[in-house]
Subunit: 268 residues, 2 copies
């Protein structure tokens, strides 16, 4: 089960990540740009959903994008090739065993990765060590406890809670967004600055209704149906009712709220 819920490893999950990057790109990435000639380590690039955006926004920076999964890297390479991106090198590597010298990078970028790690502070400290003094880290994470909506639904809350519990049992923390600030401080970073990126969706924003409420968040919860029920975390009836209620929030009188958190900090 620990393997069943890891972003980027399954077809449907891959589609979800693409949708997510497509609709949220400005909200999450508009203030990230790297100077010409700077070196950037992207950690946990997965299938390259963020890599394309990053590399296109900083065309004269040099990216090294790593992931632990070779098959994800193949997809990521196909994606950047299709976008005619030439400033990214992909490499298979484990965040806890990085094949780089200390201080080799100007910047580190980590998006939707810490949520899956049981030792996020240790990971951040390792990444800090990859930076030159004064180099920056950018961390983006969601927080599934930040999801609320109208109409309210106990079944939807229970389905989301099952997803959070699955991620916890797999060693991760689906509520990590809210604690980016203390994590970065505890890992020894300086000049820590965290800002929330709230996705607010009502019927005046049909792109987000479809791209976020339906195809990102609800699809993500729906994706853990089988493991959540098999693990005895929730009944099929309540789970399915919860999914129906999440789709219900995408109707014309519904509202959906979710918040990502973005932290930027520097190596002392």
């Amino acid at each position: 089960m620990a393997d069943a819920y890891v972003h980027g490893y399954h077809r449907r999950e891959n589609e979800r990540l693409q949708d997510q990057a497509g609709t949220l790109v400005d909200l999450l990435h508009s203030d990230t740009a790297y100077a010409s000639g700077s070196t950037v380590l992207e950690v946990g690039c997965g299938i390259g959903a963020q890599t394309v955006t990053l590399a296109q926004r900083s065309p004269a920076a040099r990216f090294t994008s790593i992931d632990i999964s070779a098959s994800s890297l193949v997809e990521a390479k196909q994606r950047t090739d299709a976008a005619r991106i030439a400033n990214v090198d992909f490499r298979q590597a484990d965040i806890f065993d990085l094949p780089f010298d200390a201080g080799s990078f100007d910047h580190v970028f980590v998006c939707f990765v810490l949520e899956h790690l049981s030792r996020p502070i240790e990971a951040l400290a390792i990444l800090k060590n990859m930076l030159r003094p004064g180099g920056t880290i950018t961390v983006i994470e969601g927080d599934h406890g930040s999801a609320y909506f109208h109409p309210q639904s106990h079944a939807a809350d229970a389905a989301i809670q099952a997803l959070i519990e699955l991620q916890r049992r797999a060693g991760g923390d689906a509520l990590i967004g809210r604690r980016l600030h203390p994590l970065l401080i505890q890992a020894g970073f300086d000049a820590v600055r965290v800002s929330p990126r709230m996705v607010y969706v009502d019927s005046s924003r049909p792109d987000l209704v479809d791209g976020f409420t339906r195809r990102t968040f609800t699809a993500m919860v729906e994706g853990v149906r089988d493991p959540a029920i098999s693990a005895g975390l929730i009944s099929a009836e309540i789970f399915d009712g919860g999914i129906r209620d999440l789709y219900r929030t995408a109707e014309p009188d519904g509202v959906f709220c979710y918040t990502f958190f973005k932290g930027v900090a520097a190596r002392p």
Copy 2:
């Protein structure tokens, strides 16, 4: 008990409202300004916490600020007099029985009022009728279900839930912020636009740690201790633990999040 939790009627609550207006003023009000000569009806002005800000930001507009409580109006008048504000007329009135002709105002402003009403759509429809065609309404409300924090605490969640339940029993809805968009649509407004105003507090923002986490939100929850326990909604032990845990989120490694919602719409 219905009377025990109404903003602006008790000394401590009054202080809280002042603190709230002081630290959140930019977040909530920076994009509200009324043209010279325009007439604005402020509904449920209470002790004038928002009135001073409104009138100072639109010094050439003419405000009529109403409240159902005569004693609150006395305080509001003292407050605007102390700030040498001369463009506000105060009047005691009930939102459901307004002493004005239809179409008499260019704008209506409502802040932290709908949350206390059992018939918010009816109230909005009445206010719509006070506007000239094309006139605008501005509505600001909180949403106590938007509060989350680090470290997490079931006791704190339970204390907040008790406050929400008290407000529900008094006929209100402490989770109204998330549904401003459908409420304004259902009341017949046009051009409805709602934006979230998220208060994100970590130790890099000491003014908000003190002004919002401690003195606004936690003080508000603390204020319902006796009615919540008397009503059997929560034990004294859990409530007090919850309050301790809310104050704990104001420590250097804590984080606190809350979201207000601001809606603007026009009379067709």
